[in-house]
Amino acid sequence: MNQTANRISHQSLLWMLIAQLIVLLPLIFEVPVWLMALAVVVGGWRWGIAVRDWSFPNKSVRFLLVVVVCVGLLLSFKGSFGMQAMLSLLVAGFVLKLIELKRPSDFYLLGYLAYFVTGTQLLFAASLISSLYGLVSLLAVTGVLLAINGSAGPVTVVAQCKRLIVLALQALPIMLVLFLVVPRFGALWTVPLNKSAGLTGVSDSMAPGDFSNLMRSGELAFRVSFNGEIPSSRQLYWRALVFDAFDGRTWSQSGFQDVQRGRASTQWQSWREALTLGDERLDYQVLLEPTAKNWLYVLAAFAEVPADARVSPGLTLYNTRAVNQRKQYSVSSAFNYQLQAEGLSDKEREMNTALPAEANPVTKRLAQQWRAEATSAEALLERLLDLYHQRFHYTLQPPRLGEHTVDEFLWQSQAGFCEHFAGSFVFFMRAAGIPARVVVGYQGGQINSDEDYLVVRQYDAHAWAEVWLAGKGWVRIDPTAAVAPERIEQGVEYSLSEDDSRLLGNSFGRRFEFLGSLQLRWDALNYRWQLWVMGYDSSAQQALLSKWFGQIRGWQLALLVIAVVACVAILLLLPLLRRHKPNLPPAELAYIQLCRKLQRIGLTRNMGEAPRQYAARVARERPDLSADIDTLTALFERASYANSAEALVRLKDAIRRFHPREQ
């Protein structure tokens, strides 16, 4: 590589262009398309400058380019300055710098910028793949910097790669120490990620048809590892939201339950009193994918509340802020519990039996009639579930429903899936005067037997009902289980006709067993990565450090960090400190060591004494060392003056083993 003058060789430019491509590739969907086109054009332009001797653009052209790009960005993002807009600005600068790339110093700047851009890759994807890709980008950029910074003379690609790998391996321990010890701060500020619209997941309202979209997505919702055996699928009701308001078509949260706007601010303590838990506990950790919503998924009923989570009156957990990054939390739950068995307040009873005046008159009338005929609430419940069991069937392609959705569903179409069953069931109960509400979340999940954890995907989304019975409190009733028990016991894919099955997300992986198991294995790997690397936050750090160093206090941790940083800094600065001496060739450094060893036994080399003269004098004064010193001198001469690499290795080795003693 040519680095003699202030010129950049074609080869290093080509490498830089390739590295830039590698770094920008994952961002292709995050920045406007025209910016990527600009990158290609500018890259070609710079290559033309190098190869075809085109001239560099002058100041006015560059200014014009900057203005055009800025205006373009403003138009593309319509004035919203979210993460993507800022990233696009960065990418634009990164790309346009190419046409200013004249001196090696520009080259370095671009290289360092490339590191930064590499970091931004992880803003949008934090999977194992993207981390590995980030590593590749990192190595590519480092390789380019190495190439232009390398010693004179042509260097083969293999030698270059070797140096790169050595460098990376040297950096590895520093990276590990920094990873483990540097304090993890939470986000100091939040940058709005314009992505929440694209995320699928359970939403804060439920209208007929909403869930069918979810069912078509095979995307990951969350993963759970259990301390102990994984419970049977029938018990895995992951509750997230409680809907207690109905406007005739859509179920949603009343102000009382609303977790999104933080109105459900009831403290845990008062609900703890309303909750009676059985003795058996189940501990598990949930790793939740970003949802851009703030509710969390738990099994009822939890005994402990994770830090920074709140409890809603509907016995659901929610986070204080939206889950924009993968979140990990531990919960301890009991399957046997009673909630508000002592009774409901008037306000709650009213809220949980309220129905819009006009909606579904047929159901209302029948409910009243059935209530009159039934001996108890339980009997009424049984009768309704029996009706579901006898007459309804489970399908992902229900007929469209008109104005009175519950009426039409219950007495005409009688085909649908969880949201229809849950919604109509709760409506019927309320019409009969029994407090009832809809609970949404996920049900079941797939067990990854390789790693022994549970994967819950979007198509596991589910809605069920809770009714309040005197003396029992809130009781979970799943009308879907009455219609299609296999949905609850084995998973949604077993409950569908073949026709429906195709609608379900990720049909490919489920169709072919081999691909499915491959997918499970890959997911397992990813899960470990998320759990141990991405999920290494301040609490995990604290736990690890206290495991290693015992109970550690804040100031001790700070001291440890300072010590580690100081060690790293000294390691890095050591070569610089040494540099105040002239930068000596290795052979001379080795020879100096030899001279020091001889000085210790009183044979100091004089300034102008050439190696052979010195050797002759040493041999004269210490005949016993004569053979050694002659060999060493001959090796030094060949290493230092004949540029023999082989002699250098032998010289270093021989000097290490040379231990002259005083007589």
Binding site: K581, P582, L584, P585, A587, E588, Y591, I592, C595, R596, Q599, T604, R605, N606, M607, G608, E609, A610, P611, R612, Q613, E637, R638, S640, Y641, A642, N643
Partner: protein, 309 residues
């Protein structure tokens, strides 16, 4: 080829007893393609060394005894009008040879001395506006008496610089002198010396010597030496880049004579007195500047940072 060189050394040693080091220096000088100046008192064997070198190197040689009334034309040649052809014809002088022995060069006037200048530097002569190349290889071995002697003209500095080395022979050792006494005048044996190297081989050798390895470490040492001559107070003026190059070239030739492919600091130290003394100042070769060089070599570190002060 190296065998030939050591053979040449022994051959010359037959007539110049006990002066192996000087003989080797002289050979190295010629192998490096440089001109040689031998300076000493009369009767120390200067001319013997010059003759012996010419003989063993197998070169055409001419000898010119410089005198105070010599003119440039006596060396270079002269154009004479030929009455028969009505044209000037050039009668070449003794300089048109491969090896020119310029005996007692400082006995002649500066005008005649400088006539040699172009010949030595350019390997060609210009007469009557016409340039004539000299045979290849072309060496000048000059001898001179110390300038303190009567009837000498000190060589101008520019001309001294043309000589790669200036050596002096010195008195022979007692043993060598006894052998001279018993054997008679060594010069009578010169015709019996055998030729060891051909002219073509000499040209080839010169090229080979240029390609010897001079490592970065060695160049560092050379530079430290050169800097010391330039920036230390002992010297009125330091070594020129040409002088430094000459030092390196001579060191390479010495390394070759010593049978090595690479140059070591000793090579520089060995040739330094012969190469530097007549360049850093015009002082007498046996006098102060030689002592200066010795001190310089002692002072300048061979291995950078290698000594423990």
């Amino acid at each position: 080829m190296r065998d030939n060189i050591s053979k040449a050394c022994t051959e010359i040693g037959k007539v110049l007893l006990g002066k192996e080091h000087e003989v080797k220096l002289a050979l190295a000088c010629l192998l490096a393609g440089g001109h040689l100046l031998i300076e000493d008192l009369p009767g120390m064997g200067k001319t013997t060394l010059a003759h012996a070198l010419a003989k063993v190197l197998g070169l055409d040689y001419q000898r010119v005894q410089f005198t105070s009334d010599m003119l440039p034309a006596d060396i270079i040649g002269v154009s004479i009008f030929d009455a028969n052809t009505s044209q000037f014809s050039f009668h070449s002088g003794p300089v048109f040879t491969q090896l020119l022995l310029a005996d007692e060069i400082n006995r002649t006037t500066p005008k005649t001395q400088s006539a040699l200048l172009e010949a030595m530097e350019e390997q060609q002569v210009s007469i009557d506006g016409e340039t004539r190349p000299l045979p290849q290889p072309f060496f000048v071995i000059a001898t001179q008496n110390p300038e303190s002697q009567m009837g000498t003209f000190a060589l101008p500095e520019s001309q001294l610089d043309r000589f790669l080395m200036r050596i002096s022979l010195g008195y022979p050792s007692p043993e060598a002198e006894r052998m001279i006494f018993s054997g008679g005048d060594p010069r009578q044996y010169i015709p019996t010396l055998s030729r060891c190297i051909s002219a073509e081989q000499l040209i080839d050798l010169k090229r080979q010597i240029r390609t010897l390895t001079a490592s970065d470490s060695l160049i560092d040492y050379l530079q430290r030496l050169v800097y010391a001559t330039r920036f230390e107070q002992d010297f009125t003026h330091g070594l020129s880049p040409r002088g430094a190059l000459a030092l390196l070239q001579a060191a390479k030739a010495w390394a070759y004579v010593e049978g090595r492919d690479y140059v070591i600091p000793e090579d520089i130290q060995t040739v330094a007195p012969a190469v530097i003394t007549h360049r850093v100042s015009g002082a007498d070769v046996t006098g102060g500047s030689q002592r200066l060089i010795a001190e310089l070599l002692e002072r300048v570190d061979v291995v950078a940072g290698g000594t423990n002060s």
